[in-house]
């Protein structure tokens, strides 16, 4: 009953194409937004901000970027970590070379650099497909991380080879560096993530989105009905890398505070890929669900035994953690290969016909 869509008629194509044509969905979104903007910030502790809220948002954004490329345009990428790195280093160079630059502008601009690099490594996708394409993104992954290590100019010739986020302020309010408070950073991240998500939703449901999906589903047919594959793939690489780059800049500036090249190595790429896949390729909502699961799970697993008063050795706990995360990935893939988003859709379909089984 709660999820009855019958009776919600649309009288124009315009309303039919509205963002949330179904009333219940719009309502649900409202609740989520209120939680994110009001309830969480009021109730969260420093620990929650640092280990859950902020990282979940940033990882969701990175996964969203990846999802555009892999989920919507069908180009497998294993180099997300490195593209995040490009965003982070670009942002770092910009704020240190031009200290007067507004940090938010710097973060949004840093995506442009990763978009450029993304397009460059996307060019092979015109010839190379499927898993073979993974090689191009892996080449980007390893080459870029190597470059972050070797190109001393990037980290301002620091002795340690790592970058340290300076204290930056907007009108006297610190937004990055050790002086910034978690809640400021959280709001900033939330704003940028909401904005980019809105733009991404529009892109994926419009003409460009259809072009990408066509390329993904059957590229030969797409080309034969008039899609310029080169443009389609390269715009996907550009848009995706832009978002991933911004996520990278946020990752370092709004959360980590410092970064060594190694941070952007392949485990990060895999992490983001997990989120995108567990959440559901080709969906927007899935990225958030996936991030909640993948980021939240280890934190919860670490907290639960302690909360229950069970003494588990921390190394053993960590091993168990890895095992559980591995098993859960398999488990979720088995119950719904198309991710949490599809699971949610299935629940919705069941709700619509409820109480009938089919």
């Amino acid at each position: 009953m709660l999820y009855r869509t019958a009776g919600q008629f649309k009288t124009s194509y315009r309303t039919d194409q509205a963002l949330f044509p179904i009333r219940q969905d719009a309502f649900l979104l409202g609740v989520i937004l209120i939680c994110a903007w009001v309830v969480f910030p009021l109730t969260a502790s420093e620990f929650t901000f640092q280990t859950l809220l902020t990282p979940i948002l940033i990882y969701s954004l990175a996964a969203l970027g990846l999802n555009i490329l892999t989920g919507f345009a069908g180009q497998l990428s294993l180099g997300t970590g490195a593209f995040m790195g490009v965003g982070a280093y670009a942002c770092y160079k910009m704020v240190t070379l031009m200290p007067w630059l507004n940090p938010v502008v710097a973060i949004l601009l840093s995506g442009v650099f990763s978009a450029g690099v993304g397009v460059m490594f996307g060019i092979p996708s015109l010839r190379i497909k499927g898993f073979y394409l993974a090689i191009a993104t892996l080449a980007a992954q390893f080459f870029l991380v190597w470059l972050f290590e070797k190109w001393a100019w990037l980290y301002n010739y620091n002795a340690s080879g790592a970058i340290q986020v300076p204290n930056l302020d907007i009108f006297g309010l610190y937004v990055s560096g050790p002086q910034a408070s978690s809640i400021t950073q959280y709001y900033l991240v939330l704003t940028i993530v909401s904005l980019l998500t809105y733009l991404a939703i529009n892109l994926t449901r419009g003409n460009l989105g259809r072009t990408w999906k066509a390329t993904r589903d059957m590229d030969i047919a797409a080309e034969l009905i008039g899609i310029n594959l080169m443009r389609s793939k390269l715009t996907a690489f550009a848009v995706s890398s832009y978002i991933v780059g911004v996520a990278g800049a946020l990752f370092v500036f709004m959360w980590r505070g410092a970064a060594e090249p190694n941070l952007f190595d392949i485990p990060l790429s895999f992490r983001v890929l997990f989120i995108a896949i567990i959440g559901g390729l080709g969906s927007i909502l899935g990225n958030y669900l996936g991030a909640i699961l993948i980021v939240g799970l280890p934190v919860v697993l670490n907290t639960v035994p302690r909360a229950l008063g069970i003494e588990v050795e921390s190394a053993l706990l960590e091993h168990l953690n890895i095992m559980i995360v591995g098993s859960l990935i398999i488990f979720f893939l088995i119950i719904e290969p198309h991710g949490l988003n599809a699971l949610w859709r299935l629940i919705r379909e069941k709700l619509i016909i409820w109480p009938f089984p089919h």
Binding site: T70, L76, P124, R127, I128, K129, G130, F131, Y132, A134, I135, A136, L138, A139, Q141, F142, F143, V145, W146, E149, K150, I220, A221, L224, I266, F270, L273, F274, I277, L281, A315, L316, E318, H319, L320, N321, I322, M323, I324, V325, G326, S327, L328, I329, I330, L333, I334, P337
Partner: protein
């Protein structure tokens, strides 16, 4: 600068041919080891289009089981047999728990599942074996240690016995695999399965049997690889990263091709070593091995999108 790129390295090669030979030999040996891992990948890919990321951890797991059993006092050769038993158990488990429920899913989902397997095995293995670096039981297995020291052109060339053994074993393994795949009923079934598992099911090929078999063979290859690598640098979970060296080998050679895995491995092994020694180290600050193989594979793929020996991608409408 141009001199450093185009002249000096070649001059050095000519001046110190013994050194060049050593570089090539080291490259060849690394290449053989890369190929061994790649072989495991190829076999599984062929039979199920699964890009088995867990091959790297299977190597570690097999080697640790072997060493662990031996530490418990089991004689070396019996440990080998028991380890094979464990790898068989692993194959059966993977088939039952992971592959069977996921049959028919898109490639990337299965790929992701193998990463899940990897994580599981890392956690599981560390609980059982601990994180310490262990020594491979090279001598106990009767693998020759020591080296030949040759002096070509009045220089110095050191060939390790274990490396020579690894090369010989790899050659035997590859030959056996090629014969198996191309000449036997089972081999044909494996290839058929890779093409279209629905059709394979419909003609009565049992997915279960083939997959268990294939994962078991991959397990055997993992054990051989583990012994070979472990003899060089000990066995620990850090070895897991060698999976990343096998990926470009696979791509360069072609995902389905046994021959490709070998040729690709050798090419990458030798070229990356030469590049690092003669160009990367002196000019680029070193450690170019972390990406050289990928860039090389990428360049080759630009000209042959299916890899050197891969099956041509059939594009028809």
């Amino acid at each position: 600068m141009l001199n450093k790129i185009f002249v000096a390295p070649f001059a050095e090669m000519v001046e110190a041919p013994d050194f060049l030979m050593q570089v090539l030999w080291e490259g060849l040996v690394s290449g053989v080891l890369y190929s061994l891992i790649a072989l495991g990948f190829v076999l599984i890919y062929r039979s199920s289009r699964i890009f088995n990321f867990a091959q790297g951890i299977m190597v570690v797991f097999a080697a640790l089981t072997l060493v662990g059993l031996h530490e418990m006092g089991v004689p070396a050769w019996i440990s080998v047999v028991l380890t094979l038993g464990v790898m068989f158990g692993l194959a059966v488990t993977v088939e039952r728990v992971v592959l069977r429920p996921l049959v028919g899913q898109p490639d990337i989902i299965l790929f992701m599942a193998t990463i899940g397997i990897t994580l599981f095995l890392i956690g599981f293995g560390e609980i059982i074996f601990g994180g310490e670096n262990k020594q491979m039981i090279t001598e106990e297995l009767g693998i020759p240690t020591g080296d030949f020291v040759l002096e070509p052109f009045g220089g110095l060339l050191i060939l390790q016995h274990i490396d020579i053994t690894a090369v010989v074993v790899a050659v035997l393994l590859v030959t056996a695999l090629l014969l198996f795949l191309n000449k036997t009923r089972m081999g044909r079934a494996i290839r058929a399965l890779g093409d279209d598992h629905q059709a394979a099911l419909s003609v009565g090929i049992s997915l279960q049997t083939v997959w268990v078999l294939v994962w078991f063979i991959a397990g055997i290859i993992a054990l051989v690889t583990g012994i070979a690598w472990g003899s060089r640098a000990g066995v620990s979970f850090a070895l897991e990263v060698i999976a990343y060296k096998a990926l470009p080998v696979l791509m360069l050679g072609g995902l389905e091709s046994i021959t490709g895995a070998i040729i690709g491995g050798l090419m990458i092994g030798m070229l990356e070593k030469m590049f690092e020694i003669y160009w990367g180290g002196p000019l680029l600050g070193g450690n170019t091995e972390s990406w050289f193989a990928y860039v090389l594979a990428l360049i080759v793929l630009l000209f042959r999108p299916q890899g050197l020996f891969g099956e041509k991608i059939i594009e028809r409408v």
